[in-house]
């Protein structure tokens, strides 16, 4: 087997460097060849001091990237799979990069974004020290069906030595893998939290212990918050890392950890990203890094640009945000984030797959998404564009958005020409994960329209 592994590593390295020379990303194929030659490739790659797997429905890319960036910013050498694939082959590629040709580890840490379906395969093989499960929420119906199905898959992960980093406020993931040691993070009740699930989707209405209807102490989105069961006494777990206050202006988080109050930088003011940051803080602290070191790392790190970027054009703020389409809750969260922003807003929905003919993704997700959040006085225009613009238009009308606020056009650049330039304080371009390059072109068009109106 050792010979087979050596051959797999050699081939994987050759493919990796060959593809890089050709200007390719080399995210998948080096790992593919490695695993094809040596099916147990991941078990034989020399383990780094720390191996972290980040899985879950939403936020795993952001969290894994954030952990990588934070560790890199304090001088650690990190291997990761951020260039692409989060399945076994992509992870094998990252592991190839973590060692030299003689299988000597050349990094301090490996951070692996891990597809929920592959966690049970990958985590034991890479002997991970920490498994971060960001959440288990409703996702693409075609890929992930429903949260019970996904949680059932993660539950099969047999990796008893790994410590779990879990969101105490999200019950579908908080209950996973009870045999593993765990650290919880969460956010205490905040202004704006409500006493009932505020979204169309709530995937955890019943007590996981006795099946009775849960009572909500507070909820901030979907079923995320703090619950208890009047019937059997079950309650959400207590968070070891608990945010007690968030100051969006000063960009700080106040946390309570083991009775001590800490103030740390906030990398982004959306709740989703605060949870992601908490996961990163918790895992870094578990690695033995001091709070001061974590603070220094956070001060040096900004969120990856493809997820959020803003600029001023002629006095109008233009924001380019990723909104993971086919996935209702993140899009609802983005809608919620925008509606709560001050001022008059125009929104461009460019959420779809780029080519309908090559995709069989369904549109049911838009009926799980809270388009009702856009039925708001502060939203003065919505441009629905892309191959499914007509579906978005119908959904917006059903959500009660006034017809006169709506523009619908398949061609994104043509539709943007109808962008309002008067009476608008900010423009939000919402694009899908796969359409970042197109969003750059769209941003240029928005600039052109706004500057042309000056």
């Amino acid at each position: 087997m050792k010979l087979r592994f050596a051959l797999a590593l050699l081939v994987s390295k050759c493919v990796y460097y060959g593809m890089r020379l050709l200007g390719r990303r080399a995210s998948h194929l080096p790992g593919y060849f490695a695993v094809r030659i040596c099916p147990d490739y991941l078990r034989y790659v020399r383990k780094a001091k720390t191996v972290i797997c980040v899985t879950g429905t939403d936020g795993k890319t952001t969290t894994a990237n954030l952990i990588s960036d934070l560790l890199t910013s304090i001088g650690q050498r990190v291997a990761n799979n951020r260039v692409g694939s989060n399945t076994e082959y992509g992870i094998a590629t990252a592991m190839t990069c973590s060692v030299n040709l003689f299988n000597r580890c050349k990094v301090d840490a490996v951070v692996l974004e891990t597809d929920e379906h592959y966690a049970r395969i990958v985590c034991p093989k890479v002997r991970c020290d920490y498994i971060v499960v960001t959440n288990v929420l409703r996702d693409s119906l075609q890929r992930n069906a429903h949260p019970e199905y996904v949680a059932g898959k993660i539950q099969l992960t047999d990796c008893p030595s790994a410590k779990l980093i879990l969101n105490a406020d999200e019950l579908c993931s908080a209950q996973l893998l009870q045999q593993n040691a765990r650290v919880y993070y969460g956010i205490a009740r905040q202004p704006g939290d409500v006493g009932y699930p505020p979204n169309r989707v709530n995937d955890c209405p019943l007590c996981p212990q006795c099946g009775a209807r849960l009572s909500y102490d507070y909820v901030r989105y979907a079923h995320v918050g703090h619950v208890h069961c009047d019937s059997c006494g079950f309650a959400s777990p207590n968070a070891d890392w608990r945010v007690t206050a968030m100051d969006a202006e000063k960009r700080t988080l106040t946390l309570l950890y083991q009775g001590e109050e800490l103030v740390l930088p906030m990398t982004h003011d959306s709740l989703f990203n605060i949870y992601n940051e908490l996961a990163a803080i918790a895992v870094m602290h578990e690695m033995g890094l001091s709070v001061d070191t974590i603070r220094t790392a956070l001060e040096k790190t900004a969120l990856t640009k493809t997820r959020f970027a803003s600029e001023q054009v002629g006095g109008i703020e233009v924001v380019n945000m990723m909104a993971k389409s086919n996935n209702s809750l993140p899009v609802s969260m983005v809608f919620d984030y925008i509606r709560k922003k001050e001022g008059r807003k125009a929104i461009i929905l460019a959420l779809d797959d780029l080519d309908e003919t090559k995709s069989s993704e369904r549109i049911g997700w838009i009926y799980d998404t809270d388009y009702e959040f856009l039925n708001d006085d502060g939203v003065v225009q919505i441009i629905a564009t892309g191959v499914r613009c007509h579906d978005h238009l119908v959904r917006l009308l059903l959500a009660g958005v006034a017809r006169e606020k709506l523009v619908c056009g398949e061609n994104e650049l043509e539709a943007i020409e109808q962008l309002r330039t008067e009476g608008v304080d900010s423009v939000y371009l919402l694009h899908d994960m796969s359409s970042y390059p197109q969003s750059v072109t769209a941003m240029a068009k928005i600039r052109e329209v706004l500057e042309g109106a000056r």
């Binding site: 069906a145 169309r200 709530n202 309908e356 995709s359 369904r362 238009l393 009308l397």
Partner: protein
Amino acid sequence: MTVEILYPELCNLYGDMGNMDYLRQCLAAEYHTTALGEEPWFVQHDVDLVFLCSMSERSQQRIIDALRPYRQRLAELMVQGKHFLLTGNAMEVFGKTITDGDEVIEGLGLLDVTARRIIPKRANSLFLGEFEGKKIVGYTSRFSHMESSLAPLFTVTKGLGRDENAAVEGVRAAGVLGTYLLGPLLVLNPDFTRWLLNELGAQDAPLAFEEEVRRAYEVRVQQFEGEIEL
């Protein structure tokens, strides 16, 4: 006119509650929502339409258990020709059995439907079919297939029907309309929704946002009739 939506806290997957959102916009009716643990409205009252939509596989058992005490009343309503719209795997709840490996789950036994789970495989497909001469579009995404001697709801032009090779989809038994199709069905298919409204005696009720809904429908029919991966 009375419409009852059963167990929406559990039966709400795949955006299928959009069917009721759309129906509410089209049809002025009394809408009753029944949660788990509550007595369904139909037990003590008359209803014109009962709606149950997609749920997780574990929830199928919960819903069967919840409805079993009212099986006789459901049978009466079905004989009376009351309408039931059962989307996604809700149809299986009303069937005879759901087989999952060695396990056989007893359904309500109100429809001649036997379902067979294919977990861990999933059946995903776009759907193009016909209903009374009109094109039907939608999607299916499920962990099971079914067999039935009942009349189908739709014929299959493209995509998955009752099982991998079936030329028909869903079931239709008097007022019971059962389909695996997701969409939401009523939003995606204005002709079918028009037919349902007429069936319910609401011939005068206009389709909400008809122009926009029809435009989306026409675009989708054109796409699905072309070269498209299922």
